[in-house]
Subunit: 386 residues, 2 copies
Amino acid sequence: SSLSTIKVTKTSLSPDSIINLDQGDPTLFEPYWRRMGDKCTVVIGGCDLMSYFSDVSNICWFLQPQLGDAIKRLHRVVGNAVTEDRHIVVGTGSTQLLMAALYALSSPADRHPVSLVAAVPYYSGYKDQAEFLRSGLYKWAGDAHTFDEDGPYIEIVTSPNNPDGAVREAVVNREEGKLVHDLAYYWPQYTPITQPLDHDIMLFTFSKCTGHAGSRIGWAIVKDKEVAKKMTEYMVISSIGVSKESQLRAAKIIGVLSEYCQHFMTADSENFFEYSSSILKERWGRLRNVVKNSKIFSLPKYPQGYCNFSGKYTDPNPAFAWLHSKEDIDWESLLREHKIIARSGQRFGAGPKYVRISMFSPPEMFNLFLERLSAIIVNTNGNVVT
Amino acid sequence: SSLSTIKVTKTSLSPDSIINLDQGDPTLFEPYWRRMGDKCTVVIGGCDLMSYFSDVSNICWFLQPQLGDAIKRLHRVVGNAVTEDRHIVVGTGSTQLLMAALYALSSPADRHPVSLVAAVPYYSGYKDQAEFLRSGLYKWAGDAHTFDEDGPYIEIVTSPNNPDGAVREAVVNREEGKLVHDLAYYWPQYTPITQPLDHDIMLFTFSKCTGHAGSRIGWAIVKDKEVAKKMTEYMVISSIGVSKESQLRAAKIIGVLSEYCQHFMTADSENFFEYSSSILKERWGRLRNVVKNSKIFSLPKYPQGYCNFSGKYTDPNPAFAWLHSKEDIDWESLLREHKIIARSGQRFGAGPKYVRISMFSPPEMFNLFLERLSAIIVNTNGNVVT
């Protein structure tokens, strides 16, 4: 079969193994999709999907109509975003769409690049994206809390936030500001769905919704027609659209997800969001159990919220743990000594006393991580780490 | 079935229909792949291809190994490029890879952006790509023939060239120059394959090789390891890799293509390159027949060449016709009056007396185009168009 060579090799971990918890690779949701058997299987013939075009009547002419429909249905079912009379722009992950949003919201007529801000701790990728091409359209201006320049600016509001899981709102709140809401984690497995959001530009990604990171499918829900046009223009100049195969598969999987949410809500094991939140909840419980033994290390606390989707009060279970140390240590180096790779708080505009750890690792790896973290805590309990 | 909604609607053309020959959408090769039945079909399960990662031991860690293997095999079979000991970087079309090459070849340490040049007539997209983000790393410097600035530069060499089909070599030839070879059309259906090319960075695209434009798969063959690393970095920052579904399907289709080239060379109808070149050859014959009746319009002439792949002398059959007028007319406007949309020579750095016309349109559309062009020629024969 065509897939025979792509099975992932399961590596068995040893006490010497390096554990990479730097990225948030969401393969832990794979067993759910395996259990769904061929309900989500797509079959693509050699002569299918050959054209650049999907729907020439749409502003985003490379969006497969069935993916646009599936996205709108899922948001209605989950209740996390308003899509009526909104434009959908599809991207190669929400990563490419953030670049498209910067392009759409900046103005070539301005002599000065527009400032891009996000509240600390901010997702490390934003700074890289804003700076790597040295664009004259926009420039990275760092922490939204300390931003005091006059003139136009763009603020990225990430909610729940990566790295720290906090529910957020815009910080600067000035008239000349434009907002991009990155809602990658505003799904029921990560946080209570308290209301359908209705911002100007809202970014979502298939990666964090269902765990299909390899498909590189993201979408923007956009209010303004001209902004949707300019975002589409960015996609055309930078890659002439987005993989049709991925779009087709995302449409299929998102369709099945919506179907199961609508018709099997009572059977928890059949509902993806119940399944994925139960895994994350169990992991968070175990991690908190380990960290509570430390006098110097801590995790953020999150308030419960009423989730309109599940119809009950739920705890947030973020995709990343944002570990803090009261004492003056360099978390990233300390973890590296214990063969754990994680991302330093410095990358997020916070200090080295913070570190971001993926909660998405394979089960065996997560177990080994907790073992090593327990050992670190025993070694450091009550002591300043040197 | 999951594909039931994606069949392209065949619009039937009327004398009033607008004919769009602006883009080169290669759907004319679809019948070949349809005839292949399920030989190129891919089946992707709901739990497949979920990870960001494909091969962490490779510089381009998001490249599916079977796609890398299929690409190398195809180049060996066709004989158009050297791949031994070269790095393969996959992209969302060769469009994204050109951006990656500009990033990799420019230097953040330089105070001035590096100049990007291409010989007129150059592909219109290069200028857009170089300018749209106002990068401080590189700047568009136009025609390579008239380039006279000192210092480092990047020259894009497109061969066969888009728009005019010419076989090309580098023009500036100075020590401080870096070259990117865009070889999208260096396949047997477009031009004789005279030698395996072996340049520093060579770009190819699935779109023009087999006609699968919707998959958005391109690849770069790169000599230098550090350049391959920086191109990969561009892909990571701008989109965290490339659709795995498209990569899987491209691997399958390219694999079948190579297989048929190796084992069914004698049965012309079974060989994709024979099939596609026969369609283009027939179209070029009919187009030349129409244009020869004009005293003021002309098409480029191409020398025959010995094609190592087919083992015979063949005529080039470019993907675009590059029409020229001796008289002072604006081709784009003239065609538009006759409800034909084509791209003005001005977009390619040439004058409005040139126009680029896609040879890839559906058969019915190509026929109507020739009818209308005949009428234009009858109207203008020997006369200056006003």
